[in-house]
Amino acid sequence: MRKLAWSLVVIVAVAVAGCAQEQKSNGYDPSLKVYRHAMDQAPSSIDPVQASNVYANHVVLNAYDTLYAFKYLARPYEVKPNLAVDFPEISEDLLTYRIKIKEGVHFIDDPAFPGGVGREVVAEDFVYSIKRHFDPKMRGQGAWLWQGRIVDLDEWKARGADYDDPVEGLRAADRYTIEIRLNKPYPQLTFTLTMGYAALVPREAVEKYGLEMSSRPVGSGPFKVVSYDTSKIVFRKNEKFRQEPVDIWYEGYNPETQGFSGVEAIQGRSPPFLDILEIDFIAESAARWNSFTKDNEVQYTGVPNEQVDNILLSKHPVTLKPEYAEKYFMYAGVEAGFVFQAFNLDFPEFGYNEDPERARRNKLLRCAVIKGFDWAKRNESFYSDIGVVFPGIIPPAVPEYDPDLPRWSVERDVDEARQLLAEGGWNADNLPELVYGTTSSVTSRQFFEQFRGWMKKIGYPSEKVKIKQFATFGDISKAWKNSTLPFVAKGWGLDFPDAENTLQLFYGPNGSPGSNDANYRNPEYDRLYEETSVMLPSPERTALYQTMNKMVIDDCVAITGLSRTRIMLWHKDVIAIPDREIVGGFFLKYVDVDRTGKADAGGSGT
């Protein structure tokens, strides 16, 4: 009996030790460097032509190469050559771009290539990859970036999208040189070449795998995909990835704000530094938080709203409570994007109306709604009071942001709102029904209820502010695109740090089904947009941007806006600045794991 008891004790001890070992190594070989990242959604496709959201972009940028990338640490954000040797050579008329790509870069080994050995990446791959967006069979979503911009590309699509049919404005001048000719100057072109949409895809793989490309990447990026499903994606280091030692000073390293993270440790070494990169897709914020705080699962998380008060010592500036600072690194920064609401001016009840008097009254109604909206309360309720409220549509993340803009449009004044309604002859009986579309999530519903409560306060009857629920974000997006909702509540993440990317949201020709969901059509605004769209960054262009911004504010088109402050936490054994804003998934190749346990004792940055 005694022997049996001892045997059981030994068995249990061995089992527990085994489990502990298993937990410590995250289920991987302990000799490997593993980093487990977390994201709140899974991408529905990881084919570059369908990299339409931040999640897909994150993955695509690690499996594929792009010509340009954003510097890892530079704030404000800066572009740098990636697969390209240098910045483009641009002709004097700003219409022709010549880009040389690096020699000796290879795609990963894959059965799509002869002998299963990845071939060299050449200029023709870029030409092919951009053409894919204009091939209706590919169901690409990135064509808007280059539509009407590149000579003959739209015509190529009209001719039947035959890949052997050359495009006049998009060609490989030689094996390593790309030539792009534009219809008119496009200063943001280089920015577009940093996006997952512009990643280089080998034709052989597309021809072999077809639609399977959406889950089977064949690229030349720092990692190659081992497995992918709706719960996680696992990458392995691409051993053939080009050797390029990191110069953290070139990458924009700031020891004062980033020194705490230990990124100096990667100076002079060639990425990627990880053997295994795993990204877990955990939609539920509570589950993500629990996984992070378990200490043996995901090593990174954005801080959920409901945890902010629990973990922060102060909000201005953002600092962690000592017990969290001891365990985790933190980085807080304003998002490159914003949330806003806009009226759909195609609805004659609120927007453009053939009757000039009604159009005047509609504007007063919109202005009243804007004055009734309480951004400060919205910030407090849903963004932990650390978001940045700003007037207009040029958010703080872009260099053209003007912090001194008058704040009339973001400060609630119930009396003034009531006065505006009275001035327009509006009362509880004649106010039009306002249908507010939301997804069926709790937070979306609370946005609506808060909005309806504020409207009630200015005299808009609650029964006239109605909710229309959509099962998914895709469904409500479709409704916006089809212009079937009079009111649009959404967020916009910047593709690149240039106000053009938000100003285009109100450019007339981009009306539904384009990105101008408000269907704002102001000839002067459109003229200025077209004028600035060919201008290089300059004080003159910034001044014109500001004029356009003011037009949107003065016309009471949108209730805008707020940029959320993101708080990121990561484990102390991870060496990184995991800021996904603008830089996107590029940062993951610079992530390293310190297995010596000598990580900095504490720290955070903003």
Partner: protein, 303 residues
Amino acid sequence: MSAVTPDKAAAAPMEQAAPAHRESLWGKAVYKLSRDRMGMIGLGIVLVYLIVAIGVWLGFWATEWGDVEGPKWAPMSAQYPFGTNIIGQDIFQRALYSTKTAFEVGLVVAVLSTIIGALLGALAGFFSGTWIDEIILWIKGVLDSIPFYLFVAAVAFALSGNPYAMHIAMVSTFWTTTGRLVRGEVIKLKNFEFVEAAKAIGVPQLVIIFRHILPNTFHILLVQATIVFVAAIKSEVILSFLGLGVQDGVSWGLMIAESTQEVLAGFFNNFVWASVFLFGLVMAFNMFSDALQDALDPKKVAN
């Protein structure tokens, strides 16, 4: 023999008559129900909820359930007896208002599914063994073979945008149990002499079903309606929690859904009070329903 006062003289026959009233099934049931203490407590609580719901409906109270002027997550106080939620809404008013939502859903679903169950069950029972019975049984079989919440969620999802999607989903599944019970009872009743007699004198079949047989299943329908009422309220809470239920308004399910994030932040008022209100009504209704079932059970009543 002493003289009796007119009062006593009048009272005597009444006392004797009372047991005579209880001779009928309904009379006995009412008597038995009134003697069931738990059932009466349950009924009392349900009536309190009903008064609250009617008061909300008439606009006597909980008129500011949607106002957002309170502070975020205020604790319980004289001004906010149950505190406030993340957008400053008064949880007390929202909990009261949700009573109306619960009764609306419960009544609509209970009445409609009982009517449908009674009609189809009676038809299936009376025409048992014929193609009419086959079809109704097949429909019931198909609906019953689908996991309940999966089916309700699918219907609610397919009809999303329709404010009555949830009601339609529940009615289309809840009638089957009532239908099955009524069918069995009708098969039994149709062989009784009064039915044979009606047939013999040429009463049309539909008149026999709806005038002579169906009224004799009312005790089943009544009990079943109370059970469906409770099931509908519980399902509404689950569907609203999943975002498939109440669209414009508030319910305990929505309050619990809201609380999922609040609980993580350490604020429990939404969760606790919605749960207490839900528990109270469901518990009371179950107590009443059990008592009613006992009171209307012919075997128990006979004793």
